[in-house]
Symmetry: C2
Subunit: 422 residues, 2 copies
């Protein structure tokens, strides 16, 4: 079952979706030319929002979890793409260690590790899981009838390994499934094995605003190529740095920047005849996991932020203090499945789209962030692949909509590639 | 629905299948190392035979038809592999012309062209079809509600093109789906566009015996690697050249060679306790389409070949005269679906297995050739991909059997790659 767009789709958006579907050949060529000299991240997931009048990425994760939420039918696509990625990055690799999130006890996260392990195994790698936390003790988990063992990571002669039945398992490469929010791990600094992706892709180093700066560039190139308004795939944003959420003056500046952004958005809404209430999302620039995020509709809300909201904004994962925020145009989530707001997430390996799923949420508003702590969502896998646009059919046809999602996700991926590899 | 192996599977074979499934990681690494410096054919289909005690390729087609027989569920896999192949061979390609078989009026062949066109389009190419025959007139066919137009191929300034609505469609590359049985086409000799695969892969140039010489090499490397008897995946063969099927002396030599081969096969049957009647397949060394093929169980049959069988052996497609034969160990087809003999065909694009189907035949014996002129078979697509072996399950489990098929097909593909690219 696939979601439906709740509102009457705006004609400008229809134009955009149809244009993408009608020009799929040219778009694939365009991507081919872009990837020719550009290394792609090993894997990624891209959160999209579809308001019925615009569609855009809101987060690009380079250490994606959630592989368990994908349609098992398309696992071969993930295996094939992984084979390709390994052939490029480390063709001689035989053994690999996945470094997971340090402290996760979330069963869904372990299901993700199980799915990821399966994909890597079928691409021809021996896989073990090694925790980066020095205090970690070997732990065995039973997930869906399979055993997953997480070992403590060890190091010797500049090589990490795990000890399995008294034997050392020394990998050729290390796959990070840990977003490194808490910093560049000392433990990995002097090792000689290939780290995928490079630790510099970690959140201790990445900034949302930097990602969207590159996305601006890519979105402009793409919309110039298609000759459409860039705004239809790119949310406005601004940033404020060296700030303290409890400082009156900082809040004032954020208010002014928010007023300016809202005015620009309202102009676009007027131009396209959109009757929605525009809103903004203010996020910690280095934040992940939906932490450090608030939404506002009226800039005056900013000066009146209560203690709870200020606290919510002031620290992110692993207790990092927020000193820079990104203020971003909010995109209404207008896809509805079983009366619930649904938000697409697209997965890539190398520069290939391997599938996606919807976060289907029952309790939240369409302009709230679904990827927030303690969130409960029902993952609903895409039923079709993102590779088969059908020009003979409507853009509401799921394979066509998924193709469009795959295109927008690849724009974000290209931005991330430029961001981390230059 | 998947076929079942009719006979009790021989324990040696079980050992082989289990060994392949258990060692899938190492096998994928082995393939990775082999493909590292070896260009792969753009596409191929490999006919396999599974006797329950041995499994081997019997034909490797570098201009595969039958894409319409594959499971539509796995089309994304074909699209992704095609994208990869194009990125390697001709990343700048935007337009491509498929050159089909010259004289086919077979509706299934046009369905194949339709499927192939869809795959190429979704990989981002504009596709047209151009017939190589100078007398060909533009023809429109309606296939499954889609129109297919085949244009006559034209040439100007060393570039081929087709004329579509008074516009020239000039491709960057040409995809041959014509096996060039009738010779190296003069028309293509001086063109500057990329021809995929190179015309030297055509049957005017290829010899079955040459392919199997390379297969011997690959099979030896693989079985040495797995430490098993090469015979379990490789049929014995011999050749006889400069011959005339009507010459008594030639028939005598073929008889002697056949006696020798049958003795070797019987020794293996004795060693492994196999109770089948061994047989041989004698084929025109340059033959395709199942033409120029006879099967024998007793070498004395050769001297007694009647006129009809001699005629069948003496000419192949496009009236070519047979002057060299390959005498090959026959492999019994022991897979049975709905009481019918079923033979697997595996498809590859670049060096990736994208799927396969069974030729299910109701009227033929298990030791006859199913790919013969006028044949009628029911194509039954593989229900699962060939990429997901499951070590927790039986080798009769379809994903496991398909994985093994994918492995053997890739051995034949590697042989074909060495054969055509060196």
């Amino acid at each position: 079952m696939n979601p439906e767009l709740k509102t009457a789709i705006n004609s400008e958006f229809l134009k955009l979706e149809n244009l993408i579907i009608r020009n799929s050949c040219e778009i694939e060529q365009w991507f081919r030319s872009k990837w020719l000299d550009q290394e792609a991240p090993f894997y990624a997931s891209v959160d999209l929002r579809n308001s019925g009048f615009k569609i855009a990425p809101v987060d690009t994760n380079l250490f994606p979890a959630g592989f368990n939420n994908l349609n098992p039918q398309f696992e071969p696509l993930a295996i094939q793409a992984t084979t390709i990625a390994i052939e490029k990055i480390c063709p001689e690799a035989a053994k690999i260690i996945i470094i997971p999130e340090n402290h996760s006890r979330n069963i869904f996260y372990f299901k993700n590790l199980l799915s990821l392990t399966e994909i890597l195994k079928n691409a021809g790698l021996e896989v073990e899981i090694g925790n980066l936390d020095p205090s970690f003790q070997k732990t065995e988990y039973e997930i869906d009838g399979h055993n997953i063992i997480v070992y403590p990571l060890q190091k010797e002669n500049h090589r990490v390994f795990i000890k399995k039945n008294e034997h050392k398992f020394i990998p050729c490469s290390i796959l990070l499934n840990n977003d490194l929010s808490s910093g560049d791990p000392e433990f990995l600094k002097d090792i000689t094995q290939t780290i995928i992706p490079h630790t510099s892709a970690g959140w201790f180093n990445r900034r949302k605003s930097n990602h969207f700066k590159f996305y601006n560039q890519v979105a402009k190139e793409f919309t110039d190529f298609l000759n459409i308004d860039e705004w239809l795939i790119n949310p406005y944003f601004d940033t404020h740095e060296d700030m303290d959420i409890n400082n009156e003056n900082d809040l004032k500046i954020i208010t002014e920047k928010s007023e300016f952004l809202l005015r620009k958005i309202k102009d676009k809404y007027t131009k396209y005849g959109i009757n929605h209430q525009p809103y903004l999302v203010i996020k910690a620039d280095a934040g992940t996991y939906g932490m450090g995020i608030i939404t506002i509709q009226d800039p005056s809300e900013i000066m009146q932020l209560n203690r709870k909201k200020r606290n919510k904004m002031s620290t992110i994962k692993d207790g990092q203090k927020v000193t820079k925020v990104i203020i971003q145009e909010g995109i209404h989530s207008e896809e509805i499945l079983n009366e619930a707001v649904s938000e697409p997430v697209v997965y890539t390996i190398d520069h290939y789209v391997i599938g996606g799923f919807y976060r289907v949420h029952t309790s939240k508003d369409k302009n709230e962030n679904l990827n927030s702590p303690g969130m409960e969502f029902f993952p609903t896998p895409f039923e079709q692949s993102c590779l088969m646009p059908d020009q003979g059919r409507d853009c509401n046809d799921p394979p066509n909509r998924f193709y469009v999602y795959g295109v927008i996700a690849r724009l974000a991926l290209l931005a991330a590639a430029r961001e981390i590899y230059g």
